[in-house]
Amino acid sequence: MSVEHNARPLPGYRGGATAAAMEADAEAKRIRSRNAAMAAQVRGAARKYWIFIAPATIAVGLVIVFPWIFTLWMSAHEWNVTGDHAFVGFANYRKLFTDVRFLESVWRTFWFTLLATLIPIVLGVWAALVFHREFPFRGILRTIFVMPMMATPVAIALVWTMMFHPQLGVLNYLLSLVGLPPFAWVYDPATVIPTLVLVEVWHWTPLVMLIVLGGLAGLPTDPYEAALIDGASSWQMFRHITWPLILPYVMIALVIRTIDSLKVFDTIAVISQGGPGTASETLNYFLYLQAFQFYNLGYASAVVVIFFVIIIALSLLLLYLRQKTKWTD
């Protein structure tokens, strides 16, 4: 930082004051000189330390930056692995916005994400509140509750596929025991999305529960004691103390669940393969078909870019909301 000064004598300036001014001027020069030397030293040091961050920079460049630039490049081409690559500009994007199947997959993805995020959040918070209390066999029951989360999604999907079989699945058998007619589950376009959401809810509610439970364990006890003395009800304590305090943790779970739900692939690929028809074809599955089944790599790259924009926009929105819910003094 430099020190501004004025060497010109002010009106009514006297000798003693002139000496002091000269001393101040000399001091300022010393400071400037020292600062310049320090700045040079910092610049030299910065150059010297570049070598330490170079590996990470190169790795990020190769693994993240280059693929992204390449994907953008591919999205501007008619890129087929069997033939030449022709530059088409924004044609792939224009085609996307007139492709009914793509547009339907976008809305389907939002619908699936909404359900597969909010339901586990509600159930997970409720489960966390239950497991936060002391009751017999709490440890064992909590372990059983989190077990679905530990299983591989593909294995889970295969088991659910067998359970959904309309003639021989255990779910329709259970319905028949209580006198209910068989349900179509994933074998009907109208019920396939809610059924796939059911699998996601079963699988990921424990994750939300664990995150919120961690938050509950760290809450202060003073506000509850004060509220009890003031005669607050359980609902009032939850509404005005617990909920605001666990909200940051809920927001973390919300961000994780939203991103996971947007990207879901394995469950759909194994259970419904996007069907019946295209009834469960989400954006990620549509992308898979274009890239790895039809080998329309340019078109698929345009889908990737759109998908990336959607995920980034939603993530930024959620992170902004999370900042708003942070505890403040």
């Binding site: 692995v81 069997t82 028809g277 089944q293």
Partner: protein, 448 residues
């Protein structure tokens, strides 16, 4: 390491022979190779080849035979089994790169035939077939069935692969349910409907007919009906025939059977759901590939052991055909070990190894001789009817999918149309829409 070396004289001889023989059909070429007496299996001793296989019971048998092959030839084999969908992607990407990491590849010819031809992926095997020093007399090329050879022979006559397996679509039926209702095996496609109507009993949870409804997987069911009209989905000159009166008729049959006589939820059924319904006695007829006899006759997986009938697809209004699908083994055009790779293919597709496929219930091999083995027929748990069904289906076999590059996209687009039909949509409108959607895809695929 021994290489496949050649002298100038041999090169000239081989070139001349190749030029002459390239104009001849492969069976005729192979005839020359049969006359050789002593065959040197050790010619490529010390070489190593990489083989890309698909994960299935037949590949298990191939891998089991590798040890004996290495003992016989001194050639080391490094093979891997990759699940079907991923294997096709791997083959596609590696072949397109121009430098595949494998010398020999399994190819699902009903999907990859045209793609492999246009991409010039594979080595033409005719010169090696014609070379008596390269082809064992035991190969007996003419023993391979016509259906499998058709899949492996390019339009210009190149022998791109050797067939390993042919899948014939047949009609499985539950003999017990047929007897209970006094129904005879249908002799025509119309009779399938009358039989299905009599056999359907929703109160007991039994349905007359089951077949694939899941998009993509369901297309061969529709083309099976279409073959009954003597028609295919794409003409020889590459025109779509998918909205013709015959195609619409086939769509109507598909829709009616699935809506009136199939189990609930059939719209999402792939072969595994169909198998479950049939194996538990909940479906009286099932139209699908011939390879499901093994689980259906396995008491640990089936409740219909000994009750399964195997019938050739009944004749349609104009023709009788069985939709066929086939696999083969081909040599990468850029392989540096073509000689060793060819030895591997000869060995792995020999009579004994093809017979092993039958013995182990791993499907229907491509060699005719395998089905003529009396001992295997007598001891097989499938029964003589299954063998008869294979041989009769082979006589009326016709490709169940068009020989085009975008086969998967074809199956996807028309698969969605068929699924919509099960949900109640009009077959004519759905097929017209699907044809319009797919037409530019097909046209573009042959450009460049």
């Amino acid at each position: 390491m021994t290489q496949y070396r050649t002298s100038r004289r041999r090169l000239l001889k081989t070139s001349a022979a190749t030029a002459l023989l390239s104009a001849l059909p492969a069976p005729f070429v192979a005839h020359f190779a049969l006359g050789q007496s002593k065959f040197d299996w050790g010619r490529f001793k010390g070489q190593k080849i990489d083989v890309l296989l698909v994960k299935n019971p037949r590949s298990e048998l191939m891998q089991a035979a590798e040890k004996q092959f290495t003992e016989l030839t001194g050639i080391t084999v490094s093979s891997e089994q990759v699940p079907e969908q991923q294997q096709r992607q791997k083959a596609m990407i590696e072949f397109s790169s121009g430098k595949p990491t494998f010398d020999v590849a399994h190819l699902s010819m009903h999907v990859q035939k045209r793609l492999s031809e246009k991409g010039n992926w594979l080595e033409d095997l005719r010169p090696m077939l014609a070379d008596g020093s390269m082809t064992t007399p035991d190969l007996e090329f003419n023993d391979f069935g016509k259906a499998g050879l058709d899949f492996c022979t390019a339009a210009d006559g190149k022998q791109n692969a050797i067939p390993t397996f042919v899948d014939y679509w047949i009609l499985y039926y539950n003999k017990e349910l047929f007897e209970q209702k006094g129904v005879a095996y249908p002799t025509s496609m119309d009779e399938i409907f009358t039989a299905a109507q009599k056999l359907t009993d929703p109160g007991k949870g039994i349905y007359g007919f089951v077949s694939r409804g899941l998009k993509n997987a369901n297309v061969p069911v529709w083309t099976s009906w279409l073959l009954g009209q003597g028609a295919e989905t794409v003409s020889k000159d590459g025109k779509l025939l998918t909205d013709t009166p015959e195609a619409i008729w086939a769509g109507e049959q598909y829709k009616r059977l699935n809506r009136e006589f199939a189990p609930p939820g059939t719209v999402g059924f792939n072969w595994n759901e169909c198998q479950t319904s049939f194996a538990t006695g909940r479906a009286a007829m099932w139209l699908d590939g011939i390879g499901f006899a093994t689980p259906l006759e396995d008491p640990s997986k089936s409740k219909v052991v000994g009750k399964v009938g195997y019938g050739v697809v009944p004749k349609g209004p104009k023709a009788q055909h069985s939709a066929i699908f086939g696999d083969g083994l081909g040599i990468s055009r850029t392989s540096a070990q073509k000689g060793a790779a060819w030895y591997y293919i000869q060995y792995i597709t020999n009579k004994e190894n093809q017979l092993n496929i039958l013995k182990n219930g791993a499907g229907s091999p491509a060699r005719n001789s395998a089905f003529g083995n009396d001992e295997v027929v007598r001891t097989s748990k499938f029964g003589k009817q299954w063998f008869d069904c294979v041989l009769q289906s082979a006589k009326v076999g016709r490709p169940g999918l068009p020989v085009i590059i975008p086969v998967t996209e074809f199956r996807d687009v028309f698969g969605v149309a068929l699924t919509n039909m099960i949900s109640g949509a009009d077959p004519a409108a759905e097929l017209k829409k699907a044809t319009e959607t797919f037409k530019p895809v097909l046209e573009k695929s042959e450009q460049g």
